[in-house]
Symmetry: D2
Subunit: 406 residues, 4 copies
């Protein structure tokens, strides 16, 4: 497996695992390692990663710490939200949607520096390895991919820590014991899985939650907010215009306060097993519902129902790592075509874990009070048309009934 | 339109509108009217309907008041819930699913009594006329259908009340003024629409809600419950076995108490217009989520994802009135095939409008802690397999990338 | 129904039926009639229509005879062919795809001349009335639509001819008797239905065919041709560049000669009944297969399979008259996104009713002889990857098997 | 890789490759080999396989030669044909549908003899390895699977033949040189691929075809036949009742004579590459079209269109090897539900490569001449209903048009 590698770009968090990987790559492949640390709004200090990379011998010009927050929300989260995508009916795809952007940036750096390989710290049982690597291969078909967790012999935490200590990699105290669960975070969500979460009958312990207050501890007063949309994307909260990332951050803070967006899920991984996870998606949960709310008013039924039928497939593609695929792009083209007039304002109420749409208005509303009214509609709709409509809808069923009930 | 009719079976609630229809049918068609009043758990006294029908001259043996509650839940609500059906992503189809059963029973009575026509009180702008009539025609292709709201000249409430008074139909005080909204209720839900709800920007007024407390007034303590499923259907609550209708009623009471299942929606009617409604589905909302919870553990991914892709179409068919259609039955056959081992227990927490799954277990669980664990899995899963899996998943993307990025 | 109409644009063929309609409109609505005759390559002389319209009193500047052949093929037939659309698995939608263009042009003329109505000669049992009128309403929501066949009392051919004779409308001899079937033609196809075709067990008589020779009379020698595609559309035959309409005409002539494209079909109409028709689509049949041939080489699997799943819906939308609908446009956006590199050459053999692809090549081929070869592929594909691929594909089935076969 | 194996059941054709595998398994795994040879109508003598297996030391009671022809057609080909399944729009899945049956029988034998492993001769680049192994794992989750082509070092034909000669395996003369292409055959089809077929621009040479005459050499006279269907399956030809296998054989002979069912295809393999193959499916091509013909008359539109939308997915599942999966079974349940009244007679014309439906009749026909007729229908259909039907179909488009064109 130790093909000759000259330079590898590693998706580097600065944590223990990727620090071990950094050293292991240098040792195993005798190659130069370039570190890339993405700020996707995970809410951690990233500068320490620079120090650690330098300490591991990475050249300063080979250390990349990039703020990708606006790109993440604008080009990944928002397009996905246009689809109302939910994996298995419930999951807002917070981890899945971050991977393609990381992969894309890694490949850009690899191209820039003539690196011949990329590497990541995802394990061999999960979805993330697939998402990273499908992204790499789609964007750079001949890149070499190193997945240390599938290759090395550091198969227990004890061995990992031994390796760290042998190589002067600092091991913080809380990493010495077994962590009771593992997490992934970005601006859209925090996911938690493993260990204490492994029995799907056991309730998620309180200490696992990090992004939202317990609904029971949330304010006793509801908060009413508005979100403005233009062309399918959020542009303002409570009338204040905001960039995509600022808007999502603002919703995150609101959601956190009101205990919104917790999800305990048993899901089907692409690699064929079920896993149990807990997700916190405070702002995304609010945004998702608000987007549906504005679509209710501005999308034609034909467009809306087609979107609903395509959404499970679209969500599955993102979950499985096929963001950079022709079929995801085809579906995106269809979805985006529907969004040009998804513009207007949604009012929502946030209260102890609930988010509810309580009103929506739009300059492009397709709702016609004149047509729908119980009052006299002055000829906007001729009720007699319904007779013919039903008669022809029924015709095939009547022919069938005559055959089968004669 | 006044074809010669001998006997007509009317879906009769005993309310003002269908009482006027009863009389109007007698007058207009010079025919015998048979009344059929279904108990679908709408929570009203039905015996007064008998008195009123008698007073209108209906023969005692032509007055049918049938308790259809168990049939409704067992043969309509539960099969629909197996599909996780949501219309336009959010609506649990409470009105839609009741109509086919009413239509079916009306036709049975018509057959029994040799009636040549059926009639209903649904208006010409709504979905219910379609649902009733498609049911009638599918089950009795040559039946005559009388839809008074599309035929008569009682086009204003004033005229309707005048007609009632001329014909000694009692008009209760609260019916004299305009009702501020109209409702439909059965065991699954109560829907409200019209008048004060017609502007989709206006918040639903408090007095519109009738089936649930305001989440803000719900208990400050969460309630934890369990639901047991067998073969895809609920069979017990908190370990106590119950019939389908009793189970749904029990969940309704729990949901009511905790303010669960309110939905403010702008939806697309089959007849081509948007309408705004408010739904309260307390027990159904809990049940829907619980069913998803037990499926998470017991359904294979292939089955689960196929179900998710078929569900929007299935929901649309029910919404549009095609319960008695070959395509709904085909989808039902597929869905039911998946449910044989959807058996086990789901634990849920109810709290101020929220319902959350907090645990699930099953004798038929497909979740394997042994495979998924972060710990040593003793060979249950070979991480190296993932490399080959990804390589072949990526192959087509690499060939594509070589072509398009060369 | 005789609302006040000032000016109506009639889709006018110059034949007996639309000549009667012209006169009937003038009489019934006391309005000015504008005639519009479209050249869609139906292969008839259109100038006689001008004479007849003039004779009926239509002002010269109100007679429109437009050559729409290039627009028809380029903006309607080709986009549809990109989707490989087949209605009910077999029908190439020759009539359906012409209607939206006629409707669009009628509305343009109506706008230009401030006409307040449009009219067409389609009957009340068919699909074409729906296609015309959905087009009209989508493009001009407040236009008035006059469908004489649903309104007038000329309900038998005898009455129609009487009306014609009363109004000096020439009735050619062959129109006096009952035609043994009725036809519709344009550059893509000729359809025939009715009378002698009404029993679906009876073979279509020879005299019904007009666009193709009987395969048994076709040349004994096959003809080999090539079609070049660029971006999903045909651009050349046998290496000779051609405009869309010329290309289709050329294929029509080839198909006609070799007896290609006959189809005897029982289909489901949108209005709820089955009908039996016979279609001749000589050039379209060749083109359809050629397009599939070039896609085989240049489309990625993900794109190709998504297209195959969307195609039945897309075809149904066109058949039902929803060309000008958001959902058709969304699907078109997805389909068109896939076509950018559908470029190359297909070789086909035409022989006595058969058309077969015998070769295809492309500068954007995704076919890799190096990868697929039975010979040594020098590492282009590692067969061991397949083991991991299968293992993970099988994982869920094994977990299922352990549960269900234990 | 040489886990300890006691007894392995090999899918054994008696040809050179599986004879080498037989010996290699004995040598490599020091285990007992059980041979299983299936008669699926591939048209080869199978008894020689017994001799060869005996010569290789297989115990007589461990040699299985089973005639599976009726089971193959009845339980695999016919159910698939009910779906009108075509992979990538054209391919009738002849190889794909045979693999699950072979896998199932292998597992039955393994169970019966307490064998702990199964083995097959499919290569590491193709689809068949996946189909075999997914079948094995689904039916026996803990079975060991040996895929010699992915394991051994006999990576060239020279080495294979050397091995054969070292082990007294007879090598027929024509196997010494490189075969110009490779084939797979069963009662449904013969497929050919590789070598001379590898350039998708090169025409398939005449000598590759083995199951059909060249259309140019077929009879100059068409042959007209009938097929009777009951409940979706063929039961008689020309009025003569036949078992499933006899019926398919009879159609094969007819198709062969008339040059029917040749297909030159570039397809997308599940393992991610494109391949070029040539298929001959004489009887299946006739049967497929006949089944569509009888469905045209007997299937309701709702059922027919749902089937058309599901068919590409269903075909993909079979192609990819997921016959024994919950999702294939769910789709089958839906499809089978639609077939109960797909009963009647189809007349077809066979002529020089063409097969055309020329008539169909059924006791369960949904076609109503009375409704569809151009003549006076005596009130079977009220044309005025169409006005209302169109008006309500158009309503949403008009609301949209008013918004977007105002």
């Amino acid at each position: 497996m130790t093909d000759s590698i000259n330079r590898v770009v590693l998706a580097y968090s600065g944590g223990l695992d990727t620090s071990v990987i950094l050293k292991w790559l240098q040792q195993t492949y005798k190659c130069e390692v370039v570190t890339f640390t993405a700020d996707l709004g995970q809410g951690e200090e990233l500068e320490p990663a620079r120090k650690k990379a330098e300490a591991a011998g990475v050249k300063p010009e080979h250390i990349f710490i990039d703020d990708l927050r606006e790109e993440f929300v604008k080009d990944y989260v928002f397009p996905m939200m246009r689809a109302n995508a939910l994996y298995e009916g419930l999951y807002l795809l917070g981890t899945s949607i971050a991977r393609p952007l990381i992969a894309k940036r890694q490949i850009e750096i690899a191209r820039m520096l003539n690196a011949d390989a990329v590497s990541h710290g995802a394990t061999g049982k999960g979805n993330d390895q697939v998402r990273f690597e499908l992204g790499y291969y789609a964007l750079a078909p001949d890149i070499k991919v190193i997945a240390p967790w599938r290759e090395w012999d550091l198969t227990s935490r004890t061995k990992l820590i031994e390796f760290a200590e042998q190589h002067q990699i600092p091991v913080s105290k809380d990493k010495r014991g077994e962590a009771p669960f593992s997490t992934d975070a970005n601006m859209l969500h925090t996911s938690s899985e493993g260990k204490v979460l492994e029995d799907p009958w056991d309730e998620v312990p309180d200490y696992v939650y990090s992004r939202t207050v317990n609904p029971e501890d949330a304010p006793n007063e509801p908060e009413v907010i508005t979100i403005d949309f233009e062309g399918g994307d959020g542009v303002a909260i409570n009338g204040v215009g905001m960039s995509p990332a600022t808007l999502l951050e603002t919703l995150n803070e609101m959601g956190r306060r009101h205990g919104i967006g917790r999800l305990d899920l048993v899901e089907n991984r692409f690699v064929g097993m079920k896993s149990r996870g807990m997700y916190e998606t405070p702002g995304g949960t609010i945004y998702h519902l608000a987007h549906r709310g504005i679509e209710q008013l501005t999308l034609d039924r034909g467009a809306a129902h087609l979107k609903d039928e395509l959404a499970p497939r679209y969500a599955e593609l993102i979950y499985n790592g096929f963001w950079f695929s022709p079929e995801r792009e085809m579906l995106q083209a269809a979805i985006d075509h529907s969004q040009t007039k998804v513009t207007g304002t949604v009012r929502l109420k946030l209260y102890k874990g609930n988010v509810s749409v309580t009103g929506r208005k739009s300059p492009f509303s397709l709702y016609s009070e004149k047509v729908v009214t119980f009052e006299d509609d002055q000829g906007a709709y001729d009720q007699r048309d319904a007779a013919g409509f039903i008669k022809l809808q029924a015709l095939r069923l009547r022919l069938l009934g005559r055959r089968d009930q004669g």
